[in-house]
């Protein structure tokens, strides 16, 4: 005689849906209408997969027709980007270097200040203070990026960079766009890092304090390492937002697609190029029009890779309490 087992096998607690246990009991009473509604719910959830497939196809079809005319290697390694010139040239590196610079500058601003704000909110602020400060920080995240771009153009470049620091800088610059983008990303990094640090059990802090550490030592040596996976994920998400940010760079970074070697230069990022190109009147299906999608595909692949790294890192460093 064999023991009776349920067909699905035991479901570990905390992993199955809330109805999983009840499903077996109510299964025989399922009505046709309910089955239809559940199917609709299921389709809604699966639609997200359709969206991804749709994105891939929308990018791939025009991009493939682009790469049938321009070799992939030439696209990826060329250092001159001039798709609209008579002697057209399709080296994407100028756009990539500009994106790398704006992202790098944005992180220089967002990582230290975002983490500082997160540490203060998670470890130092009283609940009352936190309740006031957090919504204000969220408000900063809610400012439209086009307004940030306007701010970069009409205030950061002329008043701060030229006026206070006396930099010899043009109307459009990678530096100005990157700095403002950094401020835009502060709330993203702060909010997610704070969540990660708040999730560290109180017992760890108490243990540290009991051993004679003060609040700063506890924060740096105990809470910070324990929350590292969440913090890294926050930073990586910040990177992917910086790479994909469009309006700030479209307004403040400039239009010249050139290899950026110095942040005071103007430059065209990948997103900036797409935005500007979309405003032009290139014919649908032309090589010029398809460059849009080739750059879009590259942007998609880069952000996908960054995101995959983030998910991996979180899995690797995750500590369960």
């Amino acid at each position: 005689m064999s023991t009776v087992t349920t067909p699905r096998g035991p479901v570990p607690p905390g992993h199955a849906g809330p109805h999983a246990a009840a499903a077996a009991i109510t299964h025989h009473r399922r009505r046709p209408v309910e089955a239809v509604v559940k199917l609709l719910l299921r389709i809604s959830a699966w639609l997200s997969v359709a969206i991804t497939i749709g994105i891939v196809f929308s990018l791939l079809v025009p991009a493939l027709s682009f790469f049938s005319e321009v070799p992939v290697w030439e696209f990826l390694t060329g250092t001159r980007w001039a798709p609209q010139f008579a002697d057209a040239s399709f080296g994407v590196l100028p756009l990539v270097t500009a994106t790398a610079w704006t992202t790098f500058i944005a992180l220089l601003v967002a990582v230290p200040f975002g983490l500082g704000a997160a540490i203060f909110l998670a470890e130092y602020a009283t609940p009352g203070v936190r309740k006031v400060l957090k919504p204000v920080l969220e408000l900063l995240a809610g400012i439209p990026t086009v307004v940030f771009g306007f701010f970069a153009l009409t205030w950061v470049t002329p008043v701060i960079l030229k006026g206070w620091f006396g930099l010899d800088i043009g109307t459009f610059s990678i530096l100005s766009a990157g700095l403002v983008m950094g401020v835009m990303i502060i709330p993203t990094i702060a909010s997610l890092s704070e969540d990660a640090m708040s999730a560290v059990p109180m017992a760890l802090r108490q243990g540290s304090a009991a051993l004679g550490a003060n609040r700063m030592q506890t924060t740096i040596r105990v809470v910070f390492p324990a929350a590292l996976s969440g913090i890294v994920a926050a930073i990586v998400l910040g990177i992917s937002r910086a790479i994909g940010e469009t309006m700030i760079v479209a307004i403040a970074a400039g239009a010249q697609a050139q290899m950026v070697t110095d942040p005071t230069m103007a430059g065209s990022t990948m997103t900036g190029f797409i935005a500007r190109m979309a405003l032009g009147d290139s014919r649908v299906g032309s090589l010029e029009y398809n460059t849009l999608f080739a750059v879009g595909l590259l942007l998609f692949i880069i952000t996908l890779a960054v995101n995959a790294v983030s998910i991996r890192l979180v899995r690797k460093f995750r500590q369960e309490y």
Partner: protein, 301 residues
């Protein structure tokens, strides 16, 4: 993303340490740096709002609401952009909210989380939320081409791009709100003989409404401020009529601000600032509503 955190966790009890230990030089410098970080964020916010108000205040009058864009700044207004934003966001809400909530209900209440496909769906939604917004504009172009639509500058096209953009945000916020509803409520309902769907519809969803609305309002406010995907749909056009339907041409406020920002005359920059004040004002109001709902109506179980 900052706007994803809709269910605030209860604050942990604060760590108590002896105050004498907190007065070392290093500690004080550290605390100062933390204050500096917050100061940078808040000072930027204040300066940004202050400079925008100073620059745009003189143009924040009825002309902004009644006039159409014009090459002469003193006659220009944002009427089509304001109406266009209302049309596009309204349509976005109609498309994204039911779909997002339905998807979240399936994933949270009914899906077998061990199944590889559901895990894939979850991973996929996480990925979608990190894709740059401008890519969604390309998706909308692709979809409209597939449907054989020639003129891409239509309200429903813009709404499609924005709805797909905020869908992952709504799904994640709704899931979090559903997860916060205690299991006992569902079990009580099931024990009284309700079916799973009756339980979801009458017990679980109503209990999650505050969390869902907070997340949804924040997602819609993000869509309202978004310009990049709409640029691809030819949103930067000279519209001199009131948008009047789903197939009407449109422009929106962020795009109008972008257009004015690019103009050489200072008067247009004032207009951009005035429209920015209006837009940021609306967004602050939406954020405030979301925060009030979160603080007042969210039950702690």
């Amino acid at each position: 993303m900052a706007i994803d955190t809709t269910v605030s966790r209860p604050a942990p009890e604060r760590l108590k340490t002896g105050s004498s230990r907190e007065r070392s030089t290093a500690s004080i410098v550290f605390l100062f740096l933390l204050w500096l970080s917050l100061f940078v964020a808040f000072a930027t916010l204040v300066v940004l709002i202050a400079t925008t108000v100073v620059e745009g205040w003189s143009r924040l009058d009825s002309r902004l609401f009644t006039e159409y864009p014009s090459s002469r700044p003193e006659e220009a207004g944002a009427r089509p952009a304001i109406l266009g934003s209302l049309w596009v966001i309204g349509t976005t809400a109609v498309m994204a909210i039911p779909l997002g909530v339905a998807a979240a209900v399936h994933l949270e209440e009914f899906a077998d989380r061990q199944h590889w496909f559901n895990r894939f769906v979850e991973l996929n939604i996480q990925n979608l939320s990190a894709i740059p917004s401008i890519i969604y504009g390309m998706l909308a172009i692709g979809t409209l081409s597939l449907l054989g639509v020639g003129d891409k500058n239509i309200v429903v096209g813009g709404a499609l791009a924005l709805a797909l953009l905020i869908l992952p945000v709504i799904i994640m916020a709704t899931r979090e709100a559903l997860r916060a509803v205690p299991r006992e409520l569902r079990q009580g309902s099931l024990a009284l003989g309700a079916t799973e769907l009756q339980t979801t519809w009458r017990i679980t969803l109503p209990a999650a409404v505050p969390g869902i609305s907070t997340g949804t309002i924040l997602a819609l406010s993000r869509a309202l401020g978004e310009a990049a995907p709409l640029l691809l749909l030819g949103g930067l056009v000279f519209i001199s009529f009131d948008p009047n339907g789903l197939l009407s041409g449109f422009t929106t406020m962020p795009i109008q601000i972008f257009a004015w920002t690019g103009a050489p005359q200072v008067e247009f920059h004032q207009l951009a600032a005035a429209a920015s004040i209006l837009l940021v004002g609306i967004l602050i109001a939406m954020n405030a509503v979301a925060i009030i709902i979160r603080n007042k109506f969210q039950k702690r179980w």
